[in-house]
Amino acid sequence: MNETDIGLWGVPLAIIGGAIRVSTPFLLVSVGECLTERSGRINLGLEGTLVFGAMSGYAVAYQTGSPWLGVIAAAIAGAVFGFAHGWMCKLSRVNDIAIGISLMILGMGLAFFFGKPYIQPVAPDLPSIPFGWWSDLPQVQAALRINVLFLLAIVVAILMGRMFRSTRIGLMVRVVGDSTDAARALGFHPDRVRLFSTAVGGALAGVGGAYLSLYYPGSWNEGISSGQGLMAVALVIFARWNPVSCIWAALLFGGAGALGPALQSIGVTQGYYLFYAAPYVLTLGVLIATSSTSRAMAGAPGALSITK
């Protein structure tokens, strides 16, 4: 009945609420990837890390009864994947893009392998904060029920932006990402910086996965992620390697992802699958619009293989 009270206004409201809900994993993955790419590496395997994080977070939350332990487990698992990626890319002639693809397959395989017993059980959800208490409309309340991880992700993004701008560590990561030789000349260890940047990026992607399985959609199954990890990589390019811009980019992508369910909720069933493709089309469009053959991308780290 409540659906009819606000009529078509339900669509933008559902998109705003959905954008916040759907964007959280995008934001976590893309902020982590932002750090990795700023150090001059690209990790395309975050899709696998996301799925493995979702599985491990769910499994640990179910076994211990605490969703926060699940989040921590997912972060550790993600860091292990990131560490593995960073270590392998240190070897000469090993291609970071291809390693990412292989870790994507391995991560998904391991997640499905160990996650099989956890498809049925119900794990505890992560808590959320009702920011919509001032409104009487249940739709507004639903839209503004914001998960703690979303706020955490925003804090991480802002702190990372500050880190790049005005701390020693941030400067070191930027130097390593712009020129391996310059970093060496300054006495930094490019491989070590990239190793830790990739590990932290993986940990954030793992937390993004835990959000998927422990809050929205809130259960573990093999179809839990369909390219979010990969889209987040594209999103970093759109955000010009700036963690704060990642917030807006993630909200935009989240809104596109919420379009399908929002239209479905008011009874639009035609072209159901095409609306579900909206985030992919948007990602592709953004990539086409922001890429160029003739000039280097503004803000791109110099040592990044993807922009060469």
């Binding site: 390693i99 292989s102 395989g109 391991l110 093999e222 390219g227 992919y280 890429s291 160029s292």
Partner: protein, 369 residues
């Protein structure tokens, strides 16, 4: 060095040259095979860690994938789409592109074949098959060629764009198969109208293996000739080695990129058509069976050599053919094959670091006496 060479100096030089060449070629064979074995060993250790016997596992894989005539037929039937899917990765790879969205071309190729059958149902069998193959090749070729064109014209990273387009392709397939192209009679599993019996691809006489296998093998041979024996392939290899140098030489890099990606996509599209005409009988959701992703691993294992794709695809098809039995007998989840593929994939990529590190493979070692 020694004196007694004087009489046999000619054959001695020939032998040294042969050794040099063998050493150079052996590296490209020994290292990938070693990496494959290492990947399988790591997976074996993984099974051991879980308390399962890796020996039982590989014995069962051998039995169910390659042990009997029946299991060979099963393996070879699965090889056909894998050959074509691997070409979709290997051909662009010779130009230095990493295209991983072959799944999208397979899916769209299958839908295009199903659509052709819907709009021209009165054609005789052979014409129908050719029409379906052409439609499928166009659909797949345009799809992957678009990723190549975006790379060349706009500098869009082809790895990301092709995978995004694979997701879009699957959404388009679901939309078409459940909407405009749906056969009203398909209730539980939305599909296009079933193909007429005369349109179905039959078996190779004497085997229970459909003709798709022959198509795949021919495609691999044609691709090998194209890359190794034509000026187009030569130009592509130069551009893959160094784009700048190729441009300075005046090679049509853009046309090469778009042409090779489109050709790879066309092969993947035909894989979808073969799945429809030989296996499923209509286009439906089963088209997205992950052949495109297995094809990535095959192409990398074969070092993007179209002829090497044939045995590698057979090996991985055997793993997939045996997965059902192995999982039931050993009580393993169905993602087991995916884990195995992941370990092998990581091992093969790590082996890239070994090239040039073994003295044994250096031609200089053999040229000196």
């Amino acid at each position: 060095m020694s004196v007694d060479l004087a009489s046999g100096a000619g054959s001695e030089t020939a032998f040294r040259e042969w050794l040099e060449k063998a050493a150079r070629n052996a590296e490209g064979f020994v290292i990938p095979v070693g990496a494959l074995v290492a990947g399988l060993a790591v997976f074996g250790a993984f099974l051991l860690f879980l308390g399962k016997s890796p020996f039982d596992f590989y014995a069962l894989v051998y039995k169910a994938g390659f042990g009997t005539a029946f299991s060979w037929e099963n393996t070879l039937s699965r090889t056909a789409p894998l050959l074509l899917a691997a070409l979709c990765v290997a051909l662009p790879a010779r130009l230095g592109l990493v295209v991983i969205g072959g799944e999208g071309a397979i899916v769209l190729g299958g839908v295009a074949a199903g659509a052709f059958a819907m709009f021209a149902p009165d054609l005789p069998g052979p014409a129908g098959m050719v029409g379906m193959a052409l439609f499928a090749a166009c659909a797949g070729g345009i799809w992957i060629g678009l990723a190549g064109a975006l790379r060349h014209l706009r500098g869009v990273n082809e790895t990301i764009s092709s995978l995004l387009m694979a997701y879009i392709a699957i959404a388009i397939m679901n939309h078409l198969v459940e909407g405009p192209f749906r056969d009203p009679a398909s209730l539980n599993k939305p599909s296009t109208a079933p193909l007429a019996e005369s349109w179905r691809i039959g078996s190779i006489p004497g085997f229970d293996v459909h003709w798709g296998l022959a198509v795949g093998v021919v495609a691999c041979i044609v691709s090998w000739v194209l890359i190794e024996r034509t000026s187009w392939g030569f130009a592509a290899r130069i551009a893959g080695g160094n784009v700048r140098a190729a441009q300075v030489q005046g090679l049509p890099v853009g046309r090469l990129i778009i042409g090779f990606t489109a050709l790879g996509g066309a092969f993947a599209g035909i894989a979808g058509m073969i799945e429809v005409a030989a296996v499923h009988g209509s286009a439906n959701g089963s088209l997205a069976a992950g052949y495109g992703y297995t094809g990535i691993l095959i192409a990398f294992l074969a070092r993007h050599n179209p002829l090497a794709i044939i045995p590698v695809a057979m090996l991985l098809a055997g793993f997939e053919a045996s997965s059902g039995l192995v999982q039931r007998r050993m009580d393993l989840p169905d993602a087991t094959v995916l884990v195995l593929q992941g370990f092998v994939f990581v091992a093969i990529l790590l082996s890239d670091t070994l090239y040039g590190r073994f003295k044994l493979f250096q031609p200089e070692l053999w040229s000196r006496s």
